[in-house]
């Protein structure tokens, strides 16, 4: 997987994050989803077929999370720590290079 563009931020949060309850449940360390990985909500996961991909970036642009990065060759990389399986990428992909498959854990 390509390196997260938020690497430095992630390291900072991992260092400073505390689960201690604050008044008003205020989150004082922005980006606490570094710890609370929201990809666990997913039911369907995108399965990527590199051979069909034309590198149009539509999946990358449409991903609302965003949980799709681009690798050195500009192919999409799916970050399953945060992908919620909404399927927008598969729906937008013009070459059907992304297929949503039921995830079995």
């Amino acid at each position: 997987m390509a390196e997260s563009p938020f690497k430095e931020e992630i390291e900072r949060v991992e260092k400073e994050y505390s689960e201690k309850m604050t008044p008003g449940a205020i989150v004082y360390i922005p980006g606490s989803s570094v710890i609370n990985k929201t990809g666990s909500w997913r039911v369907f996961m995108p399965e990527f077929n590199r051979d069909k991909c034309v590198r149009c970036y539509l999946c990358y642009i449409y991903c609302p999370e965003p949980a799709i990065y681009l690798d050195e060759e500009n192919y999409p990389v799916f970050d399953y720590d945060y992908c919620k399986g909404c399927g927008i990428c598969a729906n937008e992909c013009p070459t059907k290079a992304i297929e949503m498959v039921r995830e079995v854990k």
Partner: protein
């Protein structure tokens, strides 16, 4: 020198707001509280008050604007009543859960249906579980004082909860009484600036307020509100003591009146306490040993004070302008909670009266005493009685 002015309860509330110097006031007009924001908008327009007056399209928006402003870190005030408060309902939980010390004046009014603009306590009583502190004023002076005290308690770091101060619709909101307006300088000393350490906006310190709370965190956040409400009991006593030192007027969680040798104690709230005290005097002249107690702070509920009160008497007669259908008056349930595990406890009876602006007369209170006396003699009486009910039209 403090200034004495003759004014309506609503004006007293507006004056309290002026003295407290909130930075934001967001409010929507509703009978009987309209005059509060009206007077405040006048203060703002005249340059007597340096506040942002936000005009909104509903009470839901009013309290939402207050939540936003308070979350940004400034002192906030609003006013409403009845249906307006009910419309605010969901946001009241949010204000408490986010620990925003907003202060709200309420002209206590009944709820529809049938539509009725007059006094009872159903509006604030129905919000008792929202996490807001609740104060009830007996007269216009108390309305002003208890709004100032509410700010001080709400903003205390050990509390950080919103607060509402109720004063009876029309009986106080629209009745003129002499009110002492404290010196601005003293109020400034008493309240100080609101400088929150938890919730404020600073681009150098980005935070998330009102985030999702999963099952792993929700209960702990709610527990913190419970803990804050428990802390408030001590903080309120401190604040009332400081208030007395500064302004010379004494407040207590529960104010007792001629209770020491009383066989029956009438317990009530708000302006009804004035009527009841006069009734106690009259009955004492007739040689009947009764006393009165006024609940000034309803949330947090003064459990210890109720226990102490219960030790002094044989009958606690609760006079309530509210009803929780299917159980009785809300205060009845609360007093029950306070006494249930006490070894010795008096007979506790509940009396529902004065709903929707019905006057509470001495004849009504005589009926309360009659029923209480019967219970004292061991006769069977209703635990919850509706007093002054026009049975002929039922």
């Amino acid at each position: 020198m403090p200034m004495r002015k003759v004014m309506k309860g609503n004006e007293a509330a507006a004056w309290a707001a002026k003295l407290a110097k909130p930075k934001v006031v967001a409010a929507f007009p509703i009978t009987p509280s309209t005059l509060v924001p009206e007077k405040i908008s006048e203060f703002v327009a005249n340059g007597e008050m340096d506040a942002e007056f936000v005009k909104v399209e509903s009470e839901h928006s009013a309290i939402s604007a207050c939540v936003g402003a308070s979350a940004a870190g400034v002192r906030v005030f609003t006013a409403t009543a009845s249906q307006g408060l009910a419309l605010m309902h969901e946001v009241l939980f949010i204000a408490a859960g986010m620990r925003l010390p907003i202060v709200m004046a309420i002209g206590n009014r009944s709820l529809s249906a049938p539509i009725n603009i007059w006094n009872d306590w159903q509006d604030t009583i129905s919000e008792r579980d929202t996490g807001w502190l609740q104060f009830y004023a007996e007269n216009n002076q108390e309305a002003l004082d208890l709004i100032l005290a509410a700010f001080k308690v709400a903003e205390d770091e050990r509390v950080l909860l919103p607060a509402m101060t109720g004063f009876d619709a029309f009986i106080l909101t629209h009745t003129v009484e002499p009110v002492e307006i404290p010196d601005q300088e003293l109020v400034d000393e008493f309240l100080g600036e609101y400088e929150p350490k938890h919730a404020y906006i600073d681009p150098k310190r980005p935070i998330t307020q009102g985030a999702l709370g999963f099952p792993a965190h929700y209960a702990e956040s709610r527990y913190k509100v419970w803990e804050a409400m428990e802390n408030a009991k001590e903080v309120i006593k401190e604040v009332f003591a400081e208030f007395e030192k500064k302004f010379g007027r004494k407040y207590q969680m529960i104010e007792e009146y001629k209770t020491d040798d009383a066989e029956i104690i009438l317990v009530t709230m708000g302006s009804l306490a004035g009527t009841v005290k006069e009734f106690v005097d009259k009955k004492r002249e007739e040689g009947i040993k009764i006393g009165a107690a006024k609940i000034t702070v309803y949330r947090p509920f003064p459990i210890e004070e109720i226990r102490a009160l219960a030790k002094k008497t044989k009958v606690l007669a609760l006079l309530e302008k509210d009803i929780s259908f299917g159980i009785g008056g809300a205060v009845y349930a609360d007093v029950g909670r306070a006494l249930i595990n006490e070894k010795e406890k008096p007979i506790v009876l509940d009396f529902i009266l004065g709903l929707g602006g019905r006057d509470v007369t001495f004849e009504n209170l005589d009926e309360v005493i009659e029923i209480s006396k019967k219970a004292l003699k061991g006769e069977k009486v209703e635990e919850v009685s509706w007093i002054g009910l026009r049975k002929e039209i039922l």
